[in-house]
């Protein structure tokens, strides 16, 4: 019964993921697009839980859905009518090329996956209860991946400084209070 339940949840989450992903790309209003991405993130969080990545699921919801996307909605609301841009357009050649490229990528990935399917994608490893816990991930970050951790922190710092500078325009100084959330 548990097996069926997992499959059911997987199908629901996968369906949500695909549908919301399609919505992100296709709707014309950025506000809806952002909402769709939030739904997408929620579906992803469910999938992460199925993959025993509890901490990542929570972090995803907290950081991504909770803060980043709130900021996104904030900006969309702030821009109001100016946020609307033409859906697509440009030369039809460009559109065709884009479609061809995307489909080519997709087909290739599926083909590559199909080639590898039988060999080593079938049986997942045994894992302990601590798999995906904050403690285990934190320890990895401070030992094996310390450099990556430090570089990430520098990237964040640079982004924070960049955000402040972008928000501080000489023309209207008073408005940059909101931008600091970056």
């Amino acid at each position: 019964m548990g097996d069926v339940l997992v499959w059911l949840i997987w199908f629901l989450a996968a369906g949500g993921l695909l549908a919301s992903g399609a919505a992100v790309v296709s709707v014309s209003n950025p506000f809806y697009s952002a909402l769709a991405l939030i739904a997408n993130l929620a579906s992803l969080a469910v999938l992460y839980l199925l993959l025993s990545a509890e901490f990542l699921a929570a972090a995803q919801v907290l950081v991504y859905a909770g803060s980043v996307m709130v900021m996104f909605l904030f900006v969309v609301a702030y821009l109001g009518g100016r946020a609307d841009a033409p859906w697509a357009g440009g030369p039809p050649l460009l559109r065709t090329a884009a479609l061809v490229a995307a489909i080519a990528l997709l087909v290739e990935v599926v083909v590559v996956l199909g080639l590898a399917w039988g060999d080593n994608l079938s049986d997942p490893a045994e894992i302990s209860a601590a798999f995906g816990s904050p403690g285990a991930i934190g320890e990895l970050f401070l030992t094996d991946h310390l450099l990556a951790f430090e570089i990430t922190s520098i990237v964040l710092l640079v982004a924070a400084v960049g955000g402040v500078i972008l928000g501080t325009t000489p023309r209207r100084r008073g408005e940059n209070e909101h931008r600091r959330e970056a």
Partner: protein, 632 residues
Amino acid sequence: MNAAVTGAWVCLLAPLAGALAITLAGERISRRTAGWISTLTTFVAFAGALDAFIRLWARNHGDREVLSTAYTWLAAGDFEVGFQILVDPLSTVMMLVVSGVGGLIVWYSMGYMAGDDEERRYFAYMSLFVFSMLLLVEAGNFLLLLVGWGLVGLASYLLIGFWHERAEAVAAAKKAFVVNAFGDATFALALVLLVWETGTLEYPSVFERVDGLSSTIVTLVALGLLGGAVAKSAQIPLHTWLPDAMEGPTPVSALIHAATMVTAGVYLLVRTSPVFEAAVEIQHLAAILGAVTLVAAGLIALVQWDIKRVIAYSTMSQIGYMFLAAGIGAYGYAIFHLMTHAFFKALLFMSAGVVIHHLHGEQDIRRMGGLRAVLPRTHVAFGVGTLALVGIPPLAGFWSKDGIIASALATGGVLGWSLYLAALVGALLTGMYALRLYFAVWQGPPRETEDEAHTHASGQSEGPLSMLVPVGVLTCLSTIGGLLVVPGLWKPFEHWVEESAEALVHPTVAQDYATSVVAVALGLVGVWLARRAFEHGRQLVTDPTAWRILERKLYVDELYDAVFYRPAAALAVTLRQDVEGPVVERSLDEIGAGTLHAGGELSRAQSGLLRTYAITVAFAVSVLVVVFVAVR
């Protein structure tokens, strides 16, 4: 840990603290405060040195060697170097000399430098120098010794070029630095060889293993060390920087270029004597270089006109004696002469400083004369210094210099006799140039500049108290400082130093006194010659060719110019014209033009549109995936 080491650490760190305090305080303290900080920290260092000395004295004979490690400074595999100091009889003597004489000179500087625009910088440099010199003499291993060695070079460079708006001072500082860097390089190479061959830089283990090395290696190591010593101590052939270094302030000349730094070479020879004893040829080479230097410098000193340059050549000459002593293994006398020389040479420089101060910067002895009436106390001090230099008993120079000459006699053989003769010639020359200087400055009728100065500064005394007291102290020391070694009577100093480095020769009492008679007689002959020349109003060197050769300092500078500088400059010009221009620059131009052209063509692909980029990337990736899959 025992207290002897505490004093030594205090001695080492007090001047550093002073230098840091002055530097960090900047303009928040007055110039005078800066001077006091520097002076007092140096005297604190002296107190520490005294403490260390007394406590070491109290220990048993043969147990007077304490190594104190603060922490492991460098470690690479088995190789370890600690930040450590060595307190033994030799280093305590050096500590006392450096901090004691140093303290007096820094104190003197407060009067001499008063009113200079950058006194704070000056005192910070002085403290830095004292720290570096103490680090050099207290260093507990070769690497730390090299650190101190380099730092004194730096401090010397900074202080020679202290008046950096004067082109000559800057040039002299550069010259000193370059020549010293040459010595530092050979020194460092010697250390590299040592690490390579013995795997350690600790004194005891190096000295222990040095006998096991091949003679080539030992010779090379000794040669490298000697190179460092020769450059630092301004011995021929690396002596050219010292006379030029007189561009610095006079207290600097007294401290660095007479009393302490230039004698570091002698200290090195004595400290590392086991290495030199394992490479006898090189040790003898040191003695020979010393002998050559002491004669050549004495000769050049006969014809110089600049008061400070005369004293500078005299310094070279006296250090030649010390090298001679260290080279034949008379370590006790080498260090003894180092100490007495520090007293009377610092005294000479400081008295000369009073004269220069009085004459508002005039240094040419042709424009001096008859100052005895104006500066009576300085005259006495200068006179004592001169007689001590010449080696008239019972002044300090007599005891130490004659000990060296007697040791040369005791060595015997062709080498010993040649050195003996050279040293005696040196004694004669010393009498001549020292008295020539003395008469030119103090006796005779006053010259015109002096008149001007007199009218300008009517009522001016011989300088502030801070200048006179150190001069007085040094006068006393120059008078009685030599009594620490009286042949046949007692030799506490020699025994003390020789606990660190056992001497190879011990002159008999008879040799000692016989030498003294000859040497003093020769000195007096020199004095008599100078007196006669002065009375007849002519120079000591009358032959114009000889005069010219000596005035051009034996053409060493010209030789270096011709051998090293000109070929290098010519090569550089050739390379610039024939390689840099046509080959390198032209090719760069071509590459640049080609890149520019290619860039111009390629830039047409840069549409600036996000979507075209994204599509291009996507296509590229899909192609790459196909390639990778196909290749696998």
